[in-house]
Amino acid sequence: MSDEPEEIIQTLPLDRWHRALGARMVPFAGYQMPIQYDGIIAEHLWTRESAGLFDVSHMGQLLVSGGDADRALEALLPGDIVNLGVDRMRYSLLLDEQGGILDDLMVTRLPGAGLFGAAAFYLVVNGATKADDIGHLHEYLPEELTLNHLDEQALLALQGPKAVDALARLCPGVAKLVFMTAGAFEIAGVPAWISRSGYTGEDGFEISIPAKSAERIATLITEQPEVRPIGLGARDSLRLEAGLPLYGHDLDTSTDPAMAGLGFAVPKRRRAEGGFPGAPGIIRHFSEGAPRKRIGMILAGRQPAREGAAILDGDIRVGTITSGGFSPSLQVPIAMGYVDAPSAELGRALEIEVRGKRLDATVAPMPFVPHRYVRQGS
């Protein structure tokens, strides 16, 4: 017998629904997940021009509640949580004592007596890290706070320029939400916590619903003419084009918010006051510049470079690719990686080593494909 426990692959609430639609299922983050239905490129392009429904029920939905939950969260996250308004959400990072990134997440301040019943914060964390995140929060949050794992909730993402048309038909009122705000709604009588947010760079929504109603709601949404179901494969190519990092690849404990180029997640007040894990080092990296930086690259030719490929500047290895693939929208290979700071300037010519060959690459601004969020006042 081995000491290593065998990885148990679980199923998600929509497992049967995906299979009925012809999805190819693969293990991901401990779950059977749909990697694709019709093909990654077709699904990717459909999302960019119309709307795609993604099942992201593997992600962890958590509730932190109790008095001073905002201050308690600020001890673990570098974001401005205290001044976060009701129904507003922010991207933030769970940090270790050295300032390394344990996970990235979305945090929303819930109304006093909202869907989940108490003054509280709703957190969405990555599926592969949720067990560790829960352990970390249990260990470091004050005992008087309550941490709930909302594991009876499914999570759907409806993304694309026509997402609002499709969802507003089922749920009038969602059109009033702007990017990074959320609220309690009903879809066909089912309570839904809906935010205007996502992971594709497009306008869109994330929809938290009870798992027992997930099939019915997913069917209703995909019955809208704008909407097709989209798998994890296109989710990855869409987020790469949008320049959004993927935890476990582009972010891990060897990276901090300054290296990762996530300055917006560490606002001025937090940089001045500190008080989050690893603050001294992170603040120094922001003020003096990080020794290595996350960059985007566009490759010459058609050959993609993958995670792990070496990045060279002249004859010197300066870094490593952390995500790479072929951009269906731009029809060129694109990549993300970390390089030593002097090699990170926009426009710099670098080379990427793939199977003994060197591919030409140029440091490019991210996002590769412009974001099309619907912001306040727009």
Partner: protein, 123 residues
């Protein structure tokens, strides 16, 4: 012309001393949208079971193995401009390379079409 199949989902069509190699329809369906094919250099030698080409889908790179040993005589230049030929016509226009057969005895042990179909049905 006789076509043989490997358990790694390559096909090889042999006519006289020359063989054409590609990946099967089953393989292209598993890989999904193909965006790049790295072909061996003409004149290079490939070894039975050794890496001969790499096929890149949107998501990942996969090795293509030589079904038999030989010297690469020609590669399919059309794949450079249109790698999606591997998806649309994997066993015809989407061929990868031709080679001069080093040892025809290496073809023994490969599957015929019926055997390969049974093999795929069991996967």
């Amino acid at each position: 012309m006789t076509t043989y199949y490997t358990d790694e989902h390559e096909w090889i069509s042999v006519e006289g001393g020359t063989a054409t190699v590609g990946i099967t329809d089953y393989a292209q369906a598993q890989l999904g949208d193909i965006v790049f094919v790295e072909l061996p250099a003409p004149g290079s030698n490939v070894t039975k079971g050794g890496e001969a080409a790499v096929v890149e889908s949107v998501k990942a790179a996969s090795d293509v193995f030589a079904p038999i040993s030989g010297t690469v005589s020609e590669v399919n230049g059309a794949l450079e401009e249109d790698p999606a030929l591997v998806n649309s016509a994997p066993e015809t226009d989407g061929w990868f390379f031709k080679l001069s057969v080093a040892d025809a005895a290496e073809l023994e042990g490969l599957m015929n079409a019926a055997e390969y179909k049974t093999f795929c049905d069991g996967l």
